[in-house]
Amino acid sequence: MSAQLAATDPHEVAHDAGHDHAGHDHAGHDHAGGGHDHGHHAVVENNFMGLPNIKLAMWAFLGSECMFFGSLIGTYFFYHGKALAGPLPATIFSIGITSISTFLLLMSSLTMALAVDAMKQRKPTVTRNYLLVTALLGATFVGFQVYEFSHFVHLGLKLSTSLFGSTFYVMTGFHGGHVTVGVIWLTMLAFLVHKGKLNPTKLPINVEVAGLYWHFVDIVWIVIFTFVYLLEFIQ
């Protein structure tokens, strides 16, 4: 199975070979699955299928995140319209502010994709710059969210005010937390690229994997924006 996979996948083979030349610190690493050496010895961070573990792990993690956010958003709707106290969504949502932050996050997905692309084109400086722009857009998004939350609290909506308050803050709060983690992560990557610790021949996969995370955070917002905010204005 795995031999066949590796053989039919020129991309991954080329990828492995790239690592091969770059990293000289492979000795002592565990060749999981023993007999699956396909002739390149640089399968160290890859699993028995010849795929990078870190990328597999990220996709599995994002799969679990789907269920996490799916439950949070589902819960929000389960209790929608059942708030008995405090302000209601239709009265306090500001479509203007939310559209701006939505747009920022959308653009950050684009710059993230361009950062990964530049790494594949062996242009680390470009990658670093796009990473910084992405982090900046994300930080601005978080800023808007902080403003939105404090505005809502000012209007009398707290976490414990009503079912709306609880489900809304938990859902969007977890999303904002994810964006914050992403901003920190991307900033660190930009720093590593700047220092040359991360470059097209050395662990470029780290940028790609961070990108997966970042795009995921964006699609969660696509769903929240449409279902939580926009649908509120249809009565």
Binding site: P10, H11, G70, G81, A83, L84, V223, F227
Partner: protein, 255 residues
């Protein structure tokens, strides 16, 4: 196995760039988002809006699914990537969608504020308020003289039980002193009422809610006795004209 590896190495050893495709997709996503946003503005033009309205919610869902798919498929490159990644991501996603739909269909009142959908018997012509056949679960209002006697009794206790309920539930919209808040809740300290100022009117207002559910029905959340107590308390606020009060909506009601 996925045969769609379009970023294979070319002769120079570099995979070809997706830059143009990414930027094109970024533009498309922006345009779709702009279309989604057109909604709040369209509402001001009933001529255009009315025919679109029934299709709008499904359209929003379609557009959001499109954006979701575009980001996952292209930016995250899942479309051309290995099946194992697709499996790892798409199967939990399917579970998430099922959870979402289950929760949604369980919540019968998904986009209906409750109180609506109740059979109606009487329409208050002046306010346009549709009165439900029966109060949503709360006891029927007392006779006005019984209310008055109970009000006098509550006065003896300084309306303490009613104030407790008020501070917990009503304050957020009607203000600390009952002065009201712009766009959130009416002034309860003037002598002006939209839905009537009798004890019975106040009781029905609080129990069943008003104006869709902007004034939320309390019947499901408070016991009938708690509703009566809070009604006595807000009745005691009448005429106190708290500073910063919201303007009068409705008619003046004499004592």
């Amino acid at each position: 196995m996925s045969a769609a590896h379009h970023d294979h190495a070319d002769a120079g050893g570099l995979p070809h760039s997706h830059k143009k495709a990414y930027i094109r997709l970024g533009v498309i996503l922006t345009v779709v988002t702009a279309v989604e946003l057109a909604l709040p503005f369209l509402k001001d033009y009933p001529d255009i809006w009315m025919p679109v309205e029934p299709m709008w919610a499904p359209l929003l869902v379609v557009m959001s699914v499109f954006k979701f798919g575009a980001v996952v498929g292209e930016f995250m490159h899942l479309r051309g990537d290995r099946d194992i990644y697709k499996f790892l991501f798409l199967s939990p996603l399917a579970i998430a969608v099922i959870i979402f739909l289950l929760l949604g269909s369980l919540a019968v009142a998904l986009f209906l504020p409750f109180g609506e959908g109740v059979a109606v018997t009487a329409v208050d012509v002046k306010s346009g308020y549709v009165r439900p056949t029966k109060s949503s679960g709360a006891e029927p209002p007392l006779a006005e003289d019984k209310f008055k006697a109970a009000f006098a009794e509550a006065k003896g206790k300084n309306f303490a039980p009613g104030k407790t309920v008020y501070d917990k539930v009503c304050k957020a919209c009607h203000g600390d002193m009952g002065e009201g808040k712009a766009a959130l809740g009416f002034n309860l300290t003037d002598d002006c009422y939209k839905y009537g100022g009798s004890f019975k009117d106040l009781y029905v207002t609080v129990a069943d809610g008003r104006a869709g559910n902007k004034m939320p029905a309390q019947a499901g959340a408070l016991k009938s006795e708690e509703i009566r107590q809070v009604v006595y308390y807000i009745r005691s606020l009448k005429g106190t004209n708290a500073p910063g009060g919201q303007p009068c909506v409705g008619d003046k009601v004499a004592d």
